[in-house]
Symmetry: C2
């Protein structure tokens, strides 16, 4: 696909900028390189002159000369999941304050698209990449990229077998705490809604529920693990399938908050009220969880803080050249709100050990 | 911020790829340029060899030689608003099928950040940009960019006074239809929730409500236009402020669906049920609107379709070099679901002309 060539004579140059700003060509170059040696006054005049003449810094040429760039890539699986959006906002805060611009691409969970996106980012000269691997990514798919000169940090999902710096939430601990909360409320049968088994997030979050139930001498019934897209419509479908099963549990944990919101919709569609007739726990604590009705009990992973932390780690790798892989585990803590209702165990039936049921 | 230099001798070259793939260096080049002349078999061998040796195409050098690139930039205001996420998904479908990668940046409604993001994208050699201007952007802020060699298409929000190709929904018509629906249900007092007056979306969507009320001989009371962030938490706040006003309307239109979801949360927080005690209309018809409870009555702008259409227009500009500005208006149509409840006018009190009230 061709592009119209701009007549070279019409393009404003660095000399035009220098003339309008009343500074030397070298000063303009230093400002373009964000060199702190330039006084604030001169910097403002140069930036104003750049806007006035419409000068575009030829970063391609500059990159070749200097092997520098001012962009960070972030590759996510699903841009419509507010977890990733909030993480991106956190990253952008850090990246921006370091003088970088953040460019986001999404893979839609396709390993092939992920390869195209990573190549394009590297070809366009990003300084570093934060990647949440698509479902089904194998260590071999990323090995060559990891050995390249551009630092790549994995976030959200880890990839066993890959030597990579990885920032993941303590999913198992968070899920374990949530499960213990539901068990403490008297639930001895708990369902699992949403996600697919080929991601580490699904596996670690579900393992916390399984372990907590086993420790309490309870059985997690695999039939009540209902897979679905990790989205609000996915949650509606998953809840619908659960409610169709005879004798289903009246409590569930969800792979993320989007699924939990959908599960609430699904309950209401069936004439049940979340937090009164059915206990729901989400995961992530996205922006809408606190103000939802009922306010969502969820495992907070603080996506914005994860984004900030991951960006800091990447920037450190870029500036230090440090390539030793490390795994950073960020906290995941239960936040109790209203979607699990009142403790059932307060009632006399619980003491008798009957099958629990929400009031 | 410096980056470690990779030893040149260690970097795999195009010759390594050619050797492993068993093809000529020119064939590798043609594959890298996505030239369709190469046979599918040779193409697969080259792509496999690229992965095997970990070759990274030096797009910076290629851009300088060829003035070509394979990336499209998309600049949005708020990545946590699912409208933009869904629009980005639609764009990505088209962009991907044309062999491009989409890189998204967000401005957080900052005009300064918008300038940085646009410059970075141009410097990194994107082939075209789709931009939803930040709040408060003036035509002068974008004039120089519009005159540049890289096509820029405005989406979602137009910018009066700027010669630019713009894709906007027919916001006034959609809002007018929604207001007529509420008036038809018997509401003669309607509030407006969310957004800020310095965007064209706010102005055009509110104007449809104002006009429909005036045509019906009703007065839109400016006190009941409650500004807020166009987000779910913003909607909770706006509804809270509305409910604090004595004698407030029992119907509202919202600047977008996120605000409408928050408004539902705010009603429930105050013990009122949306669709029964209060009529709510959203705008956009995002993914969660249909499955929400109550299912949201909203003005569908089909963000994914808008994304596809905008990407097609941008790709056409890139390939044709056409620079004549045009305005494309996409449809906005009312979708009636459950959030406005039953028609009030069916009751005998309506016929008597009393102040309407939801049943």
């Amino acid at each position: 696909m061709g592009r119209l060539e701009d007549p070279v004579s019409a393009k404003p140059t660095i000399l035009d900028v220098a003339r309008v700003a009343g500074v030397s060509k070298s000063t303009v170059s230093l400002v373009l390189q964000k060199n702190p040696i330039v006084s604030e006054g001169a910097r403002s005049r140069v930036l104003a002159a750049i806007r006035q003449v419409g000068y575009v810094y030829n970063r391609n040429a500059a990159n070749l000369r200097q092997s520098r760039s001012n962009a960070i890539g972030i590759v996510v699986n699903d841009v419509t999941n507010s977890f990733f959006a909030e993480m991106a906002v956190g990253m952008d805060m850090i990246v921006q304050s370091a003088g970088f611009v953040q460019l986001m691409a999404h893979t839609g969970e396709s390993v092939e698209r992920q390869a195209e996106v990573l190549s394009a980012m590297l070809e366009h000269g990003v300084s570093g990449i934060i990647l949440s691997p698509a479902r089904g990514t194998r260590a071999a798919d990323l090995k060559a990229h990891m050995a390249g000169p551009v630092p790549i940090v994995l976030a959200v999902r880890d990839l066993p077998g890959l030597r990579a710096t990885t920032v993941v939430a303590d999913n198992r601990a968070g899920s374990h705490e949530a499960a213990r909360h539901l068990i403490g409320l008297g639930h001895c049968r708990i369902a699992w809604l949403g996600g697919f088994p080929d991601t580490s997030v699904y596996q670690t979050r579900l393992s916390g529920l399984r372990d907590a139930m086993a420790e309490a001498g309870l059985l997690f019934e695999e039939a009540y693990a209902v897979e679905s897209n990790a989205s609000r419509p996915g949650g509606v479908q998953a809840m619908g399938r659960l409610l169709d099963m005879p004798g289903h549990p009246m409590a569930c944990m969800c792979v993320n908050d989007a699924v939990a919101f959908g599960a609430c919709d699904g309950l209401r569609g069936a004439g049940l009220e979340p937090g009164r007739d059915f206990a729901i726990v989400g995961f992530d604590d996205v922006m809408g969880a606190r103000t939802a009705v009922p306010a969502l009990t969820t495992v907070a992973t603080d996506p914005e803080a994860v984004g900030r932390r991951t960006a800091q780690i990447l920037l450190h790798r870029i500036s230090s050249g440090d390539v030793r892989p490390e795994t950073i585990t960020t906290p995941a803590r239960l936040v109790v709100r209203a979607s699990c209702g009142e403790p059932w165990s307060a009632g006399p039936v619980a003491a008798a050990g009957a099958v629990p049921e929400m009031r």
